[in-house]
Symmetry: C2
Subunit: 218 residues, 2 copies
């Protein structure tokens, strides 16, 4: 399958590398065509790894991944172009963290809105699926880093799109039963609001090799 | 031990009943002395269960529990009286849910503040410990309702107060190792911001007999 990844940070490059290793073809898209992170990634990625602009990545992929910082996601997706996003599945991995000069981390949007909902509203012909924003990049593509059963969460309006995303997550090593569908895209709000808690737990453990497991009565 | 519980809703009454069953003495406090929920609870609770005003409950307890709705917690604690709260451990179980006419649920405060932080700022001589706001009332006092290992979280400035609270949670049936200390009271922000996610999971399962387990690399 062809993937277009919007964003060349740790998350984008980690997902790109995993997808290429699985035999998929990937274009890693950045704001400018000559972005060093993207071109150097593509140089070492082999024949199935390419770099380009946000628009190039969006045009290339059958499935798209928003791996930009949540605070700039809408801007990046506008640069990719609504016509290139239309009809496609867009996996939104973003978190909209705002870092204050005092070290405080907050979210924007939060509580009454989420990045995933903003994207879905602005690009109604795109099938937005919130996923993978609740854990570290290395763990996204290697669930065995954390022992035992633990969960991923997805939210989005399109049931087929969520099935497509779940199949990708299974290729990443997540058992299908570990992916909990929380319903429509409005549930992305709760997924994005997990981040302050996640940061507290990371500070407590001193590392990011942890994940949530939801335990329930039978 | 003597407990004063501020708030007569499901959470307050559930915790009160459990504490009495463990041999503790409890005053369940309400806004008015003749609150039906509090007096009828006390009537059937036996000699160790009492009812009274917020001030009565605060004066009575060695350990206090804020079990009011987060949106009215400060008002309730002001009615209890700063002088009666001073020097005591206050377990803050609240969530500040705001229900809109359209059925949307949001939090206030959120993101840049939390109820626990607001309480700690306004009552600096009280030892606020955020706890038990991340799960249903029946599960708070009966962790075996959900099989396997799962977690509670605490946050607060006072280490001894957190040890006191952990000991109470152990009496409720939580193994000491299941209580994860997330640090200072600012970490209550992340704990309170779990609520929208919790509501999504509850809608998904159709019941509230679930809890978070944090899985981590060894």
């Amino acid at each position: 399958m062809r993937f277009g990844i919007i964003g060349t940070g740790t998350v984008g490059r980690t997902l790109a590398a995993k997808l290429v290793s699985l035999g998929h073809e990937v274009t890693l898209g950045s704001r400018t065509k000559d972005n060093a992170a993207a071109t150097s990634w593509a140089e070492q990625a082999g024949p199935y790894g390419h770099s380009g602009t946000f628009a190039d990545a969006a045009a290339f992929g059958d499935v798209l991944i928003n791996a930009t910082a949540g605070t700039v996601s809408l801007k990046a997706l506008r640069a990719a172009g609504a016509e290139r996003l239309a009809g496609k599945v867009l996996i939104d991995v973003s978190n909209a963290l705002v870092f204050s000069p005092t070290g405080e981390v907050t979210l924007d949007p939060v509580n009454t809105d989420s990045i995933a909902e903003q994207i879905q509203r602005e690009f109604p012909d795109t099938k937005v699926v919130k996923a993978l924003n609740t854990l570290s990049a290395p763990l996204m593509v290697d669930p065995g880093r954390v022992p035992g059963e633990h969960n991923l969460f997805i939210a989005g309006e399109d049931v087929e799109a969520k099935a497509t995303v779940t199949a990708v997550l299974e290729q990443f090593g997540w058992p299908a039963g570990s992916v909990l569908d929380l319903g429509g895209v409005a549930s992305a709000r709760g997924m994005e609001m997990l981040m302050p808690f996640w940061l507290s737990v990371m500070r407590r453990f001193g590392h990011a090799d942890f994940n949530y497991a939801i335990r329930k009565a039978d």
